[in-house]
Amino acid sequence: MAKLHRLFAASLVALIASVAAWPATAQDAVANFYKGRSVQLLIGVSPGGGYDIYGRTLARHMGKHIPGNPTLVPQNMPGAGTLKVANYIYNVAPKDGSVFATFARGIPMEKLLGRTVGVQFDATKFTWVGSITDEPSVCVFMVRSGIATWRDMQTKQWKVGGSGVATDLDIYANVLRNMFHLPGRLVSGFPGGQEVLLAMQRGEVDGRCSWSWSSLLSRDKFLLDQKLVSIPVQLGVERSSEIPANVPLVVDLTDNPKEKAALKLIFSRQLMARPFAAPPGIPAERAKALRDAFDATMKDPAYLSEMMRLQLEVRPVPGARLEQMVKEVYAYPPDVVKIASDAIKNAR
């Protein structure tokens, strides 16, 4: 036992000595702070899949645009549909600019739209860094289902696939059905969007609302080329120049100003399709450094060529714009919020 004690004592002394030997890092200049540091980029999903790839490619390039050139280390912290990571950076992570994260685009709206269990943050207070794209999204139906236009969606019976209440597939389908009293059904419970697509090809369901336009183009363009699918409506708050002009935009389909506002509230998340945010209250000069570095990365030819190779969209939205958007959304009058939160509910 005596030997053990000596060993413990010796290790303790060594530990204290090594800590004392490190110089204090609290210096004002941003570069000094970041120099030689690892910055954690937390990814709220498991490896593989869209949010993970967007996060990892950003981590590979953004470090060199931050003063002091820190190393960006992507780390996966999956859980509760990315709610875990959002809670973590809001409440637990150090508020010094050494951590930021990416989570699902719908997460900031959760609280507003009535989900309270497990949401431990105020979305307007995050330090928004930016979004890599503002993806327009669409409803897609198999041609053989006979649903080709918005008129068809209003008048014919149809079934779309979903993958759980908190996903865009379910939320968007429910909003359309509830707000416009459409005669369609939502069959939910598929593991994910790819499985819904497979079910469409099998004829188990007629289509899906939604599908991001860019992944439709990059992964399943043959469906368009072979004219196997039609696109009755586009989902978003602004008309996309890439989607054929005869496809109506969802927010233009109502004349009721309150409903229009509620639709804007819900679909505005498409503007922040791949959002990145840091904890609230980090020092202003470091927040600025992160935002500037994000914007610079979005123009970095090396980054862009890699994204091109991966067939991933880059249509950046700056952090300030995200911040403004989230604040706008949270400032909507209660009756509009009520319409929106009623619309996302699944009415069988």
Binding site: K3, L4, L7, V19, W22, A24, T25, S38, Q40, S46, P47, G48, G49, D52, I53, R56, R60, V73, P74, Q75, N76, M77, P78, G79, A80, G81, L83, K84, N87, V92, P94, V117, G118, K159, S163, G164, V165, A166, V187, S188, G189, F190, P191, Q194, E195, L197, L198, A199, Q201, R202, E204, V205, S218, R219, D220, F222, R309, L310, Q311, N346
Partner: protein
């Protein structure tokens, strides 16, 4: 067809070119090493390696990734046979007969049979994939939700066979497993089921803590309790001659190998059904279909051959939906899809047309990796067996932290560790009391798949889903699988209930444990009464099943005649462990073991994960096992460095914040570990 052949050979040539073949070998070596470590499997290896494939071309990338992913289920046999601890979730079934063989001094034979069966299975899966290429799309389009539902019911029906001669216990365990799998947000209305507002439970309990808890910790606990070397004679017995005997066993049982591989391939195509249950389903299938099933569970080589061949064949099956439709059939395939995207490859028609060469290179990588993996294992089995010579005083302090951190990295939450410990204790009690554990895993893994496709099938097809030809075919197979065990069960139960001794009431440990299970099921029933009806159906049915089977079991425990029934294939047969220890010593040592593990969790929250591992190894060896301080120190430092390198540098695990780091933030800043 000639075009396809030419393409296939072109792909082989590509793969054999330098440096691709070297990359494949490297992948195989990494995969073999990871497969040996309990709790780490192909998913982990892929997550580490995918970033390294940025700068490789597509065939090289898949050579590396498939090299790693496909051989973890070969080398996982090694700890399964030597220590009874499955190396990956897929080797749990192999433990039953494989470890028993080692105890009988037949480790070499188990290795020979297992490695070769694994290679044959892997090649079978690859060949099936190659043959199916022209018809991949039609096949996938023919398998709809009803067919997937039928497959999952087929898997669940194996509970009957895997319960062996303890059908009531098996059914109770399966019901409880299914019930536990329903924890989390429901797929239909998003109702939070049994989550107690704990964020961790929103996604349900992950697979790794459950399987490691049920299968690895009980074995480690028994190692700590019995305090003896695994089997000193095993080492002497691993040589080429007795490995060759195992190889010949594979030849003799070729028809079993083919059937197991085919079943493994087809089950692998069903999204969600992975190696954690395929090995059990095929084990149950072997027990059900083979002649002389009574030797299963007592060191029968067929009990190694069947799960090993199926588990390696499944990789080919997994790739079918992945390549044809970009639908991942398992966690490893989700990662592989990520790699597809990194290389600008789109799963779907392109992989069967424009990029057919890549598809073929994937198939060849799969084949070569299995051959290489098995060959390397066979050659080095003798050296690897030396690990069995390690004393438990050294082995336990080394293996426990690996199991511990491997579990944590699964979802990176404290909850993983609580459930690892919880399921470890439950698993150990089940083992001691002769409760079959596989039914619990089957219920746990298949439960959510069953619920999902039950709803999809009825929503989409109404009752017509039952009239589909494939569904009817599978239903007939299920009836055939169930017929014998059910009639047997009915007979034994009738016999038991006729011979109840109502005068004697015995409140045995078995009865208490049954009451515990019933109490959990009752509490679950009470707390789920207010859920929407569609979220109630499957979980509450599972609760009732557990409760009713448990009640019947309670009757036999309290009033039944004394007879600890061994369960062939049920993994429930008490292992003959030399001279039996007194119950008091066993319980005391078990409590010590689980307290040490609990202490490790507490220590990690106090001083951070990586430092806790070093301190734990040092203290456990030094105080727990009274090893000299210098040795404990060396191992403590070595394990710390190893875990730091693997989990921090390699896997970039975000470490949870510790109390020490909160008190001295500078330390956290500097190390990034606290």
């Amino acid at each position: 067809m000639p075009d396809q052949l030419a393409m296939a050979f072109h792909a082989l040539q590509l793969l054999l070119q330098w440096p691709r073949i070297a990359i494949l070998v490297l992948g195989v070596l990494i995969g073999l090493a990871i497969g040996c470590m309990p709790g780490l499997g192909g998913v982990v290896a892929l997550a580490v390696l995918i970033p390294f494939t940025y700068n490789l071309d597509a065939p090289s990338s898949f050579a590396l990734l498939l090299g790693v992913a496909s051989v973890t289920t070969i080398s996982d046999l090694i700890p399964a046979v030597l220590f009874g601890v499955p190396g990956t979730v897929g080797a749990a079934a192999t433990v039953i007969d494989g470890h028993r063989m080692a105890e009988k001094g037949e480790a070499g034979r188990a290795f020979g049979a297992g490695f070769v069966a694994a290679a044959v299975g892997g090649i079978f899966g690859a060949v099936m994939l190659a043959l199916m290429i022209p018809i991949l799309q039609p096949i996938m389009l023919a398998i709809g939700s009803p067919e997937l539902l039928a497959f999952s019911i087929f898997g669940l029906s194996m509970v009957a066979t895997l319960s062996g001669r303890a059908p009531l216990k098996g059914l109770t365990a399966a019901g409880l497993g299914l019930m536990i799998s329903m924890i989390g947000s429901g797929t239909q209305t998003g109702t939070l089921r049994w989550t107690f507002n704990w964020l961790y439970l929103f996604d349900g309990i992950p697979l790794i803590p459950v399987t490691l808890g049920l299968f690895a910790l009980p074995e480690l606990a028994d190692l700590a309790i019995n305090r003896r070397r695994i089997a000193s004679e095993t080492v002497a017995n691993v040589n080429l001659a007795n490995q060759w005997q195992g190889v010949r066993d594979v030849g003799k049982n070729w028809w079993l190998v083919i059937r197991s591989s085919a079943l493994g391939t087809f089950l692998g195509m069903v999204p969600g059904i992975g190696s954690a249950v395929i090995d059990w389903i095929v084990y149950g299938y072997a027990v059900r279909t083979e002649k002389r099933p009574e030797t299963f569970g007592h060191g029968d080589v067929r009990g190694v051959i069947a799960p090993e061949s199926s588990n390696n064949a499944k990789e080919g099956g997994h790739l079918v939906p992945t390549i044809a439709f970009g639908v991942p059939a398992g966690a490893s395939m989700t990662l592989l899809l990520g790699a597809f995207l990194l290389h600008g490859l789109t799963p779907g028609p392109d992989m069967l047309g424009k990029n057919l060469d890549v598809t073929y290179s994937i198939i060849w990588s799969l084949t070569l990796a299995h051959v290489l993996g098995a060959a390397i294992c066979l050659l080095f089995a003798r050296q690897l067996a030396k690990f069995a010579e390690m004393r438990h005083e050294i082995l336990l302090p080394m293996v426990m932290p690996i199991v511990f951190v491997a579990t944590f990295q699964a979802t990176r939450s404290w909850g993983d560790l609580y459930f690892l410990l919880g399921f470890g204790i439950v698993g150990w009690i089940m083992k001691k009391l002769g409760w079959p554990r596989p039914p619990m895993v089957l219920g746990f893994v298949i439960g959510p798949i069953f619920e999902r496709y039950l709803f999809l099938s009825t929503e989409i097809y109404g009752n017509a889903w039952m009239a589909r030809p494939v569904v009817i075919g599978i239903a007939l197979i299920i009836a055939w699988v169930l017929y014998r065990p059910l009639s047997q069960t009915a007979r034994t139960l009738a016999h038991e209930f006729r011979h109840l001794d109502r005068a004697h009431i015995r409140l045995s440990p078995g009865a208490l444990f049954t009451l515990f299970g019933m109490a959990v099921a009752t509490a679950a029933l009470i707390t789920s009464a207010s859920w929407p009806i569609e979220e109630q159906i499957v979980p509450r049915t599972a609760c009732w099943a557990a409760l009713i089977a448990g009640a019947f079991n309670l009757v036999t425990e309290v009033f039944g005649a004394d007879k600890p029934a061994p369960a062939p294939g049920g993994h429930a047969a008490p292992m003959p462990m030399g001279p039996e220890l007194p119950v008091k010593v066993t319980l005391q040592r078990a409590a010590e073991f689980f307290l040490w593990l609990g202490g490790l969790v507490a220590l990690a929250s106090l001083i951070g994960f990586v430092p806790a591992i070093g301190v734990f190894v040092f203290v456990y060896m030094g105080i727990g096992f009274r090893e000299p301080a210098w040795r404990a120190g060396i191992f403590g430092v070595a394990m710390t460095i190893f875990c730091y390198a693997l989990f921090d540098r390699g896997l970039s695990v975000p470490w949870p914040q510790s109390v020490l780091g909160d008190i001295i933030p500078a330390l956290r800043d500097v190390t990034g570990l606290l």
